[in-house]
Amino acid sequence: MEFYTQALSSVLTFWPLLAMIGATLLGVFIGALPGLNPVMAIALLLPLTYSMDPLVALAMVAGIYNGSMYGGAIPAILLRIPGTPASIATTFDGFPMADKGEASKALKIACWSSAIGGIASAIALMTVGPLLARVTLFFGPAEYFWIAIFGMASVGVMVGSDPIKGIMAAVLGLLIGTIGIDSLSGQARYTFGQTWLLGGLDLIVVLVGLYALPPVLQLAEKCDLKGLSAAQLKLTDVPFKPGEIRSLIPTWIRSSGIGIGVGILPGAGGNIAAFLSYNAAKNASKDPDSFGKGNPQGVAAAESGNNADNAASMIPALALGIPGNVVAALVLSALTIHGLQPGPQLFHQNPVLVGGFMMEMLITSLLIFLLGGAVATRVFAQFQRLPGVLLVPSILILMCVGVYVINGRPIDLWVMLLAGIAGYFLEKLNVPLAPIILGMILGPMAEQSVRRALLISRGDATELLTRPISATLAVATFLVIAWPIFKAIRRKKANAAAVE
């Protein structure tokens, strides 16, 4: 408890508070603009946080993450355009509600549901995170190797439509992670005689390119020259019926639980949490046919589900150093930028920082209640009147300034452009980008762990499989990879039987 009271007193100071308020507003704005997403925004923000206090930097990450998850609901409800992938399920009932003249009510439900999901998730992070960190004190190099491989395999298999392409992307990320001086032997790998490659490719440079350039190119392709008219963004107030808000409570509880569960799993993101929550609400309803036709329960389920995923996805990242999604990977990057090593030691060596970040996830969820109300929503919706074509150069400039200030090297701008163009085509070819980033982060940890484990065991590779925890993790990794293969074989057999 002292852990959290200390953290709270550090967070409730001027700069972290200002950062949380500003970033939550910025997050809602980013989420409300289709084409911009939280990953892109956090990636653009990170290079600017180098000189900041870590608690201020993490406050901004927390604000943007939580704010944008709610912000995505604004165009989803008003225009049936999901602002972020996680708000796709919000369109199912949000837009029909707006169509019936209940847009303001739908937005209020989305705001409250997002805040409740976020608060539940932050509480889960604050309770489960420290417990999981204690378990990892028993981990040695072999366990860390398997946990890195398990994290990557899960993300590779789960994020895309084709598990082989997902794993291929993870291996590509691992290979990119080997570029530069090998920390154990001191030899340069894949540097082609270039001194700027000796330190390896900067994660943030590659990440900004991979995650920010493809949406920018897609915005250019859409070529929106007009923006939206004022009439399209008009909201009318419809009062709640008696007992209507109370009827949402079971949905909020159920969806928050689902979102937290999905958040802890590596690879499964806010969109999966929202879909599962929506389906669960529909199945539990006495009137499932009303879903998809403007049922407020559908909006509540989707929004509390996707926000409940946020803080929960930080549990494996903070406790094990294994990010389950790209935002968690970005939080780990923010920590390493400030010289902090994620993992169990983080909780013991920097309790104020870890506890502070957890508190910031909680406070920014609470801020959605205050800042995301109908009045604010009306203001944010107005940004959609800006022609999309003007956003294209603006984001490009922010990408370049963000990347340039990291090392002050023009070459990084070219690396970013190249990564972005590659990312654009890889996405089109159904190769997920998240495993590449996770491979780059976890690669050095996996390599160092396996080499240390082999040094300790004097080259005996069975050491990697004979300890109980490492053996369990190895089996889990095998199952994660084998499961889609098994499913494909079974589907093939079923198809063959149907033809016969």
Binding site: D182, L225, R451
Partner: protein, 149 residues
Amino acid sequence: MEQRQDIVLGLIFVGLGIAAAWMATSYNGAGGIYPMVLGIILTLLGGAVALKAVRARSTSERTLIDAPSKMITAVVTAVIYVALIVPLGFYSSSFLLMLALPIALGFRQGLYALIVALVFILVVFLVFSVLLEKPLPREALGPLLGFGG
């Protein structure tokens, strides 16, 4: 279309994997074994993607670029912008980008674009150069305008 794209994708990864594994043979000890193993795995996975595409005999369409002229315009403009940042200066090249790219993409409200460009560049200047004091490439026109470069 989709089948041919996946075959090419698989073969590119096979090429990358072979190159990585071959280069790793020149590295000593464990520092070479790890990337070599990764190169071999990448080759196998690339081969699996290509083989799967060959066997699938899919005829479905998958558009690689939705609006090729707009996408190429954006990429070429971005490349020119990055090339101009150092010789021209960050703010000068960014201002030009804010005007040139929307116009190249078909935006015809010049005054609107100019106002947005001025406001945006001013905000970027205040945040990055005044508030955060980040060093950015110097303006070539600076000395001419009396800013000292």
